[in-house]
Each structure stands twice: as structure tokens, then as C-alpha cells.
Amino acid sequence: MGAEFVALSLVPMLVATLAAIACALPGNFLLLRGQSLLGDAISHVVLPGIVVAFLLTGVTTTPAMLAGALAAAGLSVALIEGLRRGAGVEPGAAMGIVFTTMFAAGVVLLEQSGAAGVHLDVEHALYGNLESLIWLQADGWAALGDPAALAALPEELPRMALVTVIVAACIALSWRPLILTSFDEGFARSIGLPVRMLSAGLVALAALAAVAAFSAVGSILVIAMLVCPAAAARLLTTSVGAQVAFSLLFAALSAVIGYILAGYAPLWLGLPAAVSAAGMIAVTAGIILMLAMLGTRPKS
């Protein structure tokens, strides 16, 4: 574990871990509210936003993509809420309608606009590009203390770290109101909690985490991290605090173990190439969820 690890693997592993944690945090509360599908929807509806942002600005810079994706996420949340509250459509159906329509619109835009030529393609949207986050300027662990090398860190790392901190801080500050509204919305309203704002805020946090994670790890990993760690932790715990703590542990474990398996397992098996890191991380998260299910007896 020397220079090669720091240059090639350290940054992708950190980005994957941070992305997993940022997604798993809001995923816990989406799960408690029976809204896990919302995370699934979010991670798909950001595609048209990203394409439109590219068409408007002509560049693939982070702020532009983030703005476009957030706008698309905001639009879809408004559409889902509108269908749900306005037209009385059942929540799952409302999400299904909006999410497929938005994703389809994104694909059509992508195909028609020529954006497919510039680093925006369906494969990229699904699997991300963890493997490309290499830190060539690093020649060993000493690089962590070298300003010149640190300046050349892939920008995904500080961005993902910032988003993770923002998501964690928001969840920590609204911890009690989030639990209260998740458990008993009527009571929460009666004591004056801004139920609708909390609900929209939670979705916005999940969207922020999903969008930030999207370009690095792709939508498959985003969906997996919004759902799997929280679902596994839910099976093993009896309080919200413990559930969130375990989900973060599972998220980090999935990222690290999944990344290592993707990079090295094919070598151990004598296969020629590595497999997708994001895909392997999602598989690991799924395996952890399966183990959690096997480890708990069904409630009678």
C-alpha cells in the first residue's frame, strides 16, 4: 500500500465513501417515511437537468451541472407533490409517472442534442467514473502534506466532502423535528412544526446528495446508497439513532470493500480486467442488506 495506492485508489475510495454516506443519511428518513422510491426517482430525474444545463452553457463544469440537476430535481418534486396533493394520485404512482417521464426526456435530449459526444453518455450516467479520479501528483502518503500535490486533487473530492458536511449538518440540526414528523405527521402539525417544509427539505437534501454523487459514482450507486444501508440498519436496530449509525457504517464498508473487490478480485481470479467500482460497491451494499435479512428473524 504505497505510492500507487495513494495515486490511483485513495481518492476514488474516499469519494465513494463520502458519496455513500451523504446518500445514506437522508435515505434513513426516506425509509422511515416509506418514501425510499423518491430517492430512486431523484437519481434519475437529474439526467435531463444535467443535459439542459450543458445545452444552455456549453460546458460541463460542476456548478452548471449541479444547478441544472437541482432545478430538474426541484421540478420533479413539485410535479410529484402536485400530482399527490393536487390530483390525489397515489404517491408511488405519482413518483413512477414523473420519474420515467423525466428520465425519458433526458435520454431523448441526450440523443438529439449531440451532447452524447462530450463525456455525457448513458453508461457514464449509470456507472459514474470513479476509476478516472486519479491523483497523479501524489507519489506516496507524504503527498497528503504537500500543498502542491494537494492543489492537484481531483475536484470531486472536496466537492463531495463539502456536500457530505452540509447534509450531515442539516440532518443533525433538524434531528428531532425529522423524527417527529416521520412518526406522526398529524401530531407534528398540531404542535406547530413546519411539516411540509421539513418534508421538502429532506427531499432537497436527498437531491443534493444524489446530484453531487451522480457524476462521480453514477445513478446505480446513488440508488443503492439511498436505500440499502438504511434498509439493512433498520432490520438490526430499534432506535432511529442506532439505525442511522449502523447505516453509515454499512455505507462506508460497502464503499471500501466494494472498491477493493472491483479492483483486485478479478486479478485474484486470474481475469484480465477490473470490473466497475460503482457497480461492485452497489453489489456489496446489496450483500450486506441480504446478510442483515438472514440475520434477523421475521417478526411474528
Binding site: L32, P177, I179, L180, F183, F187, R189, S190, I191, T238
Partner: protein, 252 residues
Amino acid sequence: MVDPTPFPIPEAAMTIRDLTVAYQEGRVLEGVDARFAAGAMTAIVGPNGAGKSTLLKASLDLIARRTGEVRVFGAPFANMRQRVAYVPQRAAVDWDFPARAIDVVQMGLYGETGALGRLTGGLRARAADALARVGMADFAKRQIGALSGGQQQRVFLARALAQGADLYVLDEPFAGVDAATETAIVAVLHSLRAEGRSVIAVHHDLATVPAYFDRVLMLNRRVIAEGPVGTAFTQTTLAATYGTALPQKVPA
């Protein structure tokens, strides 16, 4: 601001004027006028679909009302939240939620702690006392999903007690509970009344109305009758409220 302790016995715990609520399917409540006496226990009675729960929810700003004005202890509800404890129907929440009985009761302390305030020893004791008052002290650490329906209803009542309110608004507190729980809840509600507090409850079992309650509001989309049980709860008003579908026992 609001002073939660003294009881200057105002004329009414809650007054409702010209309340109309409409869902997509049409009007549920039409021009409801009601006055709930302070220091008394009032039952809201009426057939299924009469709008009993809707009346409570609209009064407490949980759902939108088309017209109407609601006053709690003489002021708009928004200014009086601290003096009101609302107990939703037990079926309104997911009891598989990861929480213990005491965790749910402590939710009633949110008015004191806010989002970030510390749960002091005094507040913890208040929650524990509330749980003990409904006979659930031994179940504090129990997962709420592992409790019986009656025990869950008692936990809900304990959360309301922890709020230390002056007006208790309960939506079907006796629905699907065992006899022991019903007795325990009635005892607690009567003790609240003895302390000068006010209780409003949606109630289904007509047979127990005279024994449990002082006053009654007969409702079927509009107010049919209102007043002390002795004068307002009669064969005539029952017939007018229920029409032909008269008094079966508690609907399951």
C-alpha cells in the same frame, strides 16, 4: 406570551363558528357552529362519514377549511398551541417505527425543548410520570411495535399528558382497545377534568356516552344537537343524527 398554568375558567375551551370543509368528493362539514365548555368532557358523536375527525383536524389547522373561525381559550389556535394536546387516531401512524414507549412520550416535550434544547432531568421525569399515570411505567423501554393496541393508545395519551395542556383533543381514544385500557383512559380523562382541564373526544360507543361524558355534540355534516348529555343526548337527537341507521354497538 401564553401562561400555561392558571385556569381563569373562561367561558369556552374552544369555539367554532361557521366551519365548512370540503374534500374533492364534496362538502364534509357545512356551517358548523360549536362551543366546547371549559372544564368539561365533551363527546363528538355521529355516524361514519359524519365528519367527526375532520372537525377536529380542521379546528387544529391540520387540514384546510373553506370557511370558519376557531378560537381556543378566546384566541386563534396558532397562539394557543402550547395549551392544546392532540391525540390522533392510533391507526394514523406506523407502529413499526423504531421507538420505545418513552421515546414517543418524550415527543410531547417538544414544546419545551424545541429542536435542539436539552432533555433535562426534570423533563425526563415528567415523561416518566405521564407514562406511569396511564399505567404503563413498566413498559417504558418496550418497542412500540411490540405493544398491544390498548397499550399503544395509552402511550399516545401519555404523550398528550407530557404536553401539560389545558385542552385535550382525542380522535377515537377507545377504538379497538381492551376493557382494562378503556377503564384506565376514562380514569385519566376524569382526573384531568377534576383538575379543571377540558376534554373533547370523538366517541363511537353510544352506550357509554352518559357514563363517560358531561356534554355531547351530535354531528352529521352539520351540528344536530349540542349541550349537556341529559338534554342533548335523546332518542330524538339520536334519530336525527343517525337517521335509519340507528345505534348499533361500536363499529369494529
